[in-house]
Amino acid sequence: MSASDYTRDEIMTVTAARQLPNGAVCFVGIGLPSAACNLARMTHAPDLVLIYESGTVGTRPTVLPLSIGDGELAETATSVVPLPEIFAHYLQRGRVDFGFLGAAQIDRHANLNSTVIGAYARPKVRLPGAGGAPEIATFAGEVLIIMKQTPRSFVPRLDFRTSCGYLAGSGARAATGSPGAGPRAVITDFGVLRPDPDTHELTLTALYPGITVEAAQAATGWPLKIGTRLETLPAPDSDELRVLRALQASTRQAQARPVRITLPAAI
């Protein structure tokens, strides 16, 4: 059933897709989350409802968009609403089951930084910033995080806290009254980390085939907690790989297509 020849990006995307139950409502960001959500929709979860912050609700793209506002998303949507409604009527209202986040830095309690490396006033690297992340982190029923694991991104201390995971852990998040349950899983290119039920410290609970605990530890900027029962995740099956690769191929093709505009003769 499983294909032996796949990339780390592919198993990461497939693993993320598998977290999504059919019928769930997902708030989708661009890049790996969009690939994962659409892969899930085109395999085991045909009734997945995808919401992009641009205002498209129930969108069913056949080509992965480069931006969250591509025309494909509007054309295949159930409904296109003003952006403020997405955040108010859907996210803050509690209509979103799953939110996806990525970031430049994550700490052991799944707090995220997507704002700056260095000091805010004089940053070493100015990152894009918050976007929808802080509210997704707060209001989505559950949060899934997709990030490549490196010592530079999995850090003991964030340079800037853009979005909250479990704050200092051990119930600190729940004490704030935050409506969503917080990050349920961090899917990396090594495996999956989940919060400890008591301390909320991220704990390695599963690895991809052939990946060692030592490698995962070396890719983490803090002493990584290892779960007592360490699962080996199944490789992508051939159907998943076929769908994912077809999606990406059609996307590359669409993006290579030149745009031509016909100007009226008078201009």
């Binding site: 506002g69 952006l83 955040f87 100015r126 802080p134 505009i261």
Partner: protein
């Protein structure tokens, strides 16, 4: 509504130092209007936009802006906005003061402005460092009915909002179709509204519940086919994802960026010439 050549509309309605919002979320970004602002060498603008995108990278890199209010400043799906980064990280070509929001907060600020309110309210979420660095832009208060913590953000009221749209009719009513982001709220919030459109038609191709801005809310309009390129105008042309990918290289270094802008924006008379020079239009 006054129908004007874009050059005159920008000259009349965008002043040095103004708070200017060019809106359009990925879709219908008013690139032609932004380029005209560059050509007219506006200075010290306070730029406002949820997603600065390439258009603000260009305005910032050309020294038009001293302030930026925004919520996500990247090249969507590609990476960094190098000119925005250079301004923030190194003050080139001039320092850029940031007022930074989340999408939900900035959308709420536009909504408050559109509603004549002084501020907008949302549920307060767990503290982030954004609350700390832009504390003058946020306040927490208690719900007077439930005691629940709420967050207020101030209303955003641009001096001028600039939009691109698909159609204008004979009476001057403007149709936006497809993804509209916070364009309607930004339009209603502003003192003045300048619009570029793909085409003028006798009658809008608009359903009853379509997004139509009435002519009496439009200060000035200009007919600029292709005016949203390299973003897109639904029913007219798709997003030029190739250009968004190419921009990463064009904007990475100051010299290459400046040369590109001099040749393709300053060196052309108008947007049609810009499109022809780039081989996008014949």
């Amino acid at each position: 509504m006054q129908l004007l050549p874009l050059k005159e509309a920008i000259a009349a309605h965008v002043r040095d130092g103004a708070r200017v919002a060019l809106e359009g979320f990925t879709h219908l970004i008013p690139f032609a209007a932004g380029h005209e602002i560059v050509r007219q060498e506006r200075r010290n603008l306070h730029l406002i936009r949820m997603t600065p995108d390439l258009i603000y990278d260009q305005l910032i890199g050309m020294g038009c802006a001293s302030q930026l209010t925004f919520s996500w400043g990247g090249n969507p799906g590609v990476g960094s906005l190098h000119r925005l980064r250079d301004a923030v990280e190194h003050g080139w070509p001039q320092p850029l003061a940031l007022t930074e929001y989340t999408h939900a907060e900035l959308a709420l600020g536009y909504q408050a402005g559109a509603s004549g309110m002084t501020c907008g309210l949302m549920l307060h979420h767990t503290d982030t460092d954004l609350d700390r660095v832009s504390s003058s832009s946020r306040r927490t208060l208690s719900c007077p009915f439930t005691g629940r913590p709420l967050k207020a953000v101030p209303a955003i009221r641009p001096d001028v909002t600039i939009l691109h749209a698909q159609q204008i009719d004979a009476a001057g009513n403007v149709l936006l179709r497809g993804i509209i982001g916070a364009a309607k709220e930004a339009a209603m919030a502003a003192e003045r509204l300048v619009v570029t459109v793909e085409e003028q038609v006798a009658r809008l191709d608009a359903d009853m519940n379509a997004v139509v801005l009435p002519s009496w809310l439009v200060t000035a309009a200009s007919i600029v086919p292709g005016g949203a390129w390299p973003s897109y105008a639904h029913n007219h042309y798709p997003r030029d994802n190739r250009f968004y990918l190419a921009w990463d290289e064009i904007a990475r270094e100051r010299g290459a960026f400046t040369a590109w802008m001099e040749r393709h924006v300053l060196g052309v008379r108008d947007h049609a010439e810009h499109l022809r020079l780039l081989g996008v239009a014949a």
